[in-house]
Amino acid sequence: MPMRDSIRLPNPYQTDTHQQWRASLRKFVDSHITPFVDDWEEAGTLPPSLWQDAANVGLLQLGYPEALGGISAGTDLHHMIIAAEELAACGAGGVYASLMVHGIALPPIVHYGSEALKQRIVPSVLAGEQHISLAITEPGGGSDVAQLTTQARREGDHYIVNGSKTLITGGLRANWFTTAVRTGEAGVNGLSLLLINANLEGVSRTPLSKKQGWWCSDTATLYFDNVVVPCDHLIGQENSGFLPIVHNFNNERLALTASALEAARVCFEDAWCWANERNTFGKPLIKHQVIGHKFAEMLRQINATQGYLDSCAWQITQGISKPSDVALLKVQATQTLEFCAREALQILGGAGYLRGCRAERIYREVRVNAIGGGSEEIMRDLAWRQLMASNA
């Protein structure tokens, strides 16, 4: 059995369809992704056919309404967690980040968009025919969503959009951008979400290709120069964009946690295999106590994170989750990942310093996990504020 399965705690919430889904996805990842990941990373992109393949196995549609081409009957959050875990097992986090980027860009349309927008966008994205990215972060700032400055000025039946967005995952490939814009006063009450067609005049984009990690996931800076967007592309109500933006954070953080946790297991697995193979001072590495205790400590942190993840997932399915718990879960997961990536590379030594090893790549992906989707500092801040507010 693969080491990452041996060290997975039994999960009381997962049933037979979960196990089948994991088995199917593993075959899909083993045949369609893992053998090509090194090439995709060097090429800085994913092949367009991957979206079609992912739609065939049901990955893109998971959790979306059946009426819009999704697959939701019988599925729950644990199917999503398994998807994040199995994709992370290829050892390149950029695959999930790019392939599943609609997971952050599409829900605002599904939950707040007009019927016409839903019908136009959602089925084709879920079928892998069109791509959509979420555009929030700006060159002037990211975490402080309330202060963003991209302007959408109303003129008759249109908005005139001016501004710039950066660090946009999937931004080069996207046909559509779910874009946070300022339509009113300063602060959270002047924000709206606007769907912008990437082909409109005045939209331009440049690649951000020199990155520490996630090489196969394209990242872009977007420029909007007097872009004319029809008013019916507004998602939800004008100046009520903040809620749709934060609505999805819980699920995004849960998926990021599952990805980071599985990446930590991959580090454990790679290091474990090496420690059993490599001989030093007359015995295998694993027989040296100083190395063995590294595995024990990695496992302690991995187990703690899984237990916490399972609890938060259960809370969400029961509708009783606290955003502070999910925010701190993400911190727990990325700190676990950071520790395991470090220890795995210490064990792998020179072998882990060279490219071509999963743990080496994951080591370079630690920061994007710990910063993207809400940095550790922002997560703790959110938890602290909520603790004060609910116990005042």
Binding site: M1, D5, S24, F28, G58, I71, G74, H79
Partner: protein, 249 residues
């Protein structure tokens, strides 16, 4: 045309099985269980025949404990239409399995029965052949290619000297070898749909099958551990060791 496929619940091929300390069997407690790989190939072949328009219905059968339902559900997710579980907590020998299958063949009257050539737990390689004898049906074992046309099934068999092709009149029995096909993975919608497909449960007693064991298991022991090799300084020492220690020259 109706196809029957048999699927067995076995310890997953990735699991390293150890002998129980008291030698009464293999320790499979809490081990991950899966569909036998050769049975999965059988399901895949049946589904391909259905996709080609050759087959119209696929019935997946498993014989074993209640949990074998999971393996039937997997077959249903891959494309089988309905399932039959012959539920028994006894570990059946190939003859009893073949008798159960024979009873179901009599009831279902399939045109083709596809089975794995063996299961990776017992490695008996007997059930398909026994079923052929009991049901009086021709058999094409170790198939690496299967073609159905004009009331016959042409089976390319992997044999010691190479490949042998036989043509069998339908109804017939085919057992699969490793190279017959590469099984697909079930898509999420098909996993969900499989939950709603019919699954009937019967017992060996319902089928009138006597499940008494005929083979007595004496002992299960792990293979002897290999001794570590040694390095010799020169040819003289090598010859000396071969002569006096290994005693081969």
């Amino acid at each position: 045309m109706k196809i029957l496929v048999a699927v067995k619940r076995v310890v997953d091929y990735n699991v390293k099985v150890r002998a129980k300390a008291d030698g009464t069997g293999a320790d499979t407690a809490n081990a991950k269980m899966s569909i036998n790989p050769f049975c999965e190939i059988a399901v895949e072949e049946a589904v391909r025949l259905k996709e080609k328009g050759v087959a119209t219905e696929i019935v997946a059968i498993s014989i074993g404990a209640k949990q074998s339902q999971e393996q039937i559900r997997t077959a249903l997710a891959l494309g089988a239409d309905r399932g039959i579980l012959v539920e028994t907590d006894t570990d059946l020998e190939p003859l009893a399995v073949a008798k159960c299958l024979k009873a179901i063949v009599d009831k279902e009257t399939p045109d083709l029965v596809i089975l794995g050539k063996q299961s990776i737990d017992g490695d008996n390689n007997q059930t398909g052949q026994m079923l052929g004898a009991l049901a009086g049906m021709p058999q094409g074992t170790f198939a690496s290619e299967v073609n159905v046309a004009e009331g016959k099934v042409k089976v390319t068999r992997e044999i010691d000297g190479g490949l042998q092709t036989v043509a069998l009149n339908l109804p017939a029995i085919v057992t699969t070898d490793l190279r017959l096909n590469e099984p697909r993975y079930a898509s999420l919608p098909n996993i969900m749909k499989a939950k709603k497909k019919p699954l009937e449960t019967v017992t060996p007693a319902d089928l009138g099958v006597d499940t008494a064991t005929r083979v007595k298991l004496l002992k299960v022991a792990p293979p002897a551990e290999r001794q570590a090799g040694i390095k010799v300084a020169d040819v003289a020492e090598l010859v000396e060791k071969l002569k006096n220690e290994a005693k081969v020259i």
